[in-house]
């Protein structure tokens, strides 16, 4: 993930927001076919970038499981 880290550090604010939107929609939106998937977040850059979105993603997945 070193390439990701380098590129993230070079992003300006609008680019970071666009990346936040990408992460938000791919991880937290769209159709859920299976209701019990588990995706770990191994890339620390994602957490640094937008912790709130990732927490909501995990919550959304948990809610789908209930």
């Amino acid at each position: 993930m070193s390439a990701d880290r380098n590129s993230l550090e070079e992003l300006d604010e609008p680019e970071k927001l666009v990346l936040s939107d990408l992460i938000n929609r791919v991880l937290d939106k769209g159709v859920m076919i299976k209701t019990h998937i588990t995706i770990s977040v191994a890339d620390i850059d994602l957490i640094e970038l937008d912790l709130n979105l990732l927490i909501s993603s995990v919550d959304a997945m948990r809610n789908k499981r209930l």
């Binding site: 927001l17 666009v18 990408l22 992460i23 791919v26 939106k29 159709v31 076919i33």
Partner: protein, 218 residues
């Protein structure tokens, strides 16, 4: 070998999906017929159980490529894996009817997203004219304010069929999702460009349905 699912489309539109699109891990996309639904999949040897930025980008890029070739696609959430194509068909067979309804009623439509950064609040002095984008974002900044009920749809006009709004990154911005007819993309971009308060925004798309993948009361 595992079947990785990216999105769903009407099977009658499967011919619009070219053979050269690469997905997660570089594997080629293909369409698995599941009755009236076509499932956009690739065969992966190393399932992406970890959400790396590269894999997230690959998932989205594969869907965008299919949309670019003219298909209407409902995105599937990242990380949906199936033992094989037969396993996939069993799961798709249980698909929520609202997804099928959305694909049928919104065939020919795409999702556009407008990502807006929040400008720093002026320290003093009265603000000049405040456009709808700025007004919305200013309300996002206020703790506890709801995002519901606030919209750009009226400002952008009838080109926008439906709208969904997501706050981004702790109030630093917002993503407006707009459902439009595919042929209206130039008019949509023109409508956004005509709003001075949206000048700093980034328009993304055409995309697969992320916010509009399920039909609602319309």
């Amino acid at each position: 070998m595992t079947t990785y699912l990216y999105g769903l489309l009407l099977d009658r539109n499967a011919h619009l999906v070219p053979a050269h699109i690469a997905g997660v891990g570089g594997a080629a996309l293909r369409v698995v017929a599941c009755d009236k639904i076509g499932a956009l999949v690739s065969t992966v040897t190393t399932p992406p159980r970890s959400a790396s930025i590269d894999d997230v980008r690959a998932h989205d890029h594969a869907l965008q490529s299919v949309v670019h070739h003219g298909a209407t696609v409902a995105s599937v959430r990242f990380g949906q894996l199936f033992a094989d194509d037969d396993d996939l068909r069993r799961w798709v067979g249980r698909l929520d009817a609202r997804v099928v309804r959305a694909l049928e009623s919104r065939d020919g439509c795409v999702e556009m997203r407008l990502v807006l950064a929040l400008e720093p609040r002026p320290a003093t002095g009265a603000q000049a004219h405040v456009g709808p984008g700025t007004a919305y974002l200013e309300q996002l900044r206020a703790p506890g304010d709801s995002v519901k009920g606030l919209a750009l749809r009226a400002a952008l006009g009838p080109v926008v069929l439906r709208e969904h709004v997501d706050p981004l990154a702790g109030g630093r911005g917002a993503a407006f999702s707009h459902l439009i007819r595919r042929q209206d993309e130039p008019a949509y971009r023109e409508a956004v460009a005509s709003q001075p308060s949206l000048a700093g925004g980034t328009v993304l798309g055409p995309l697969a349905f992320y916010s509009f993948a399920e039909a609602d009361d319309e």
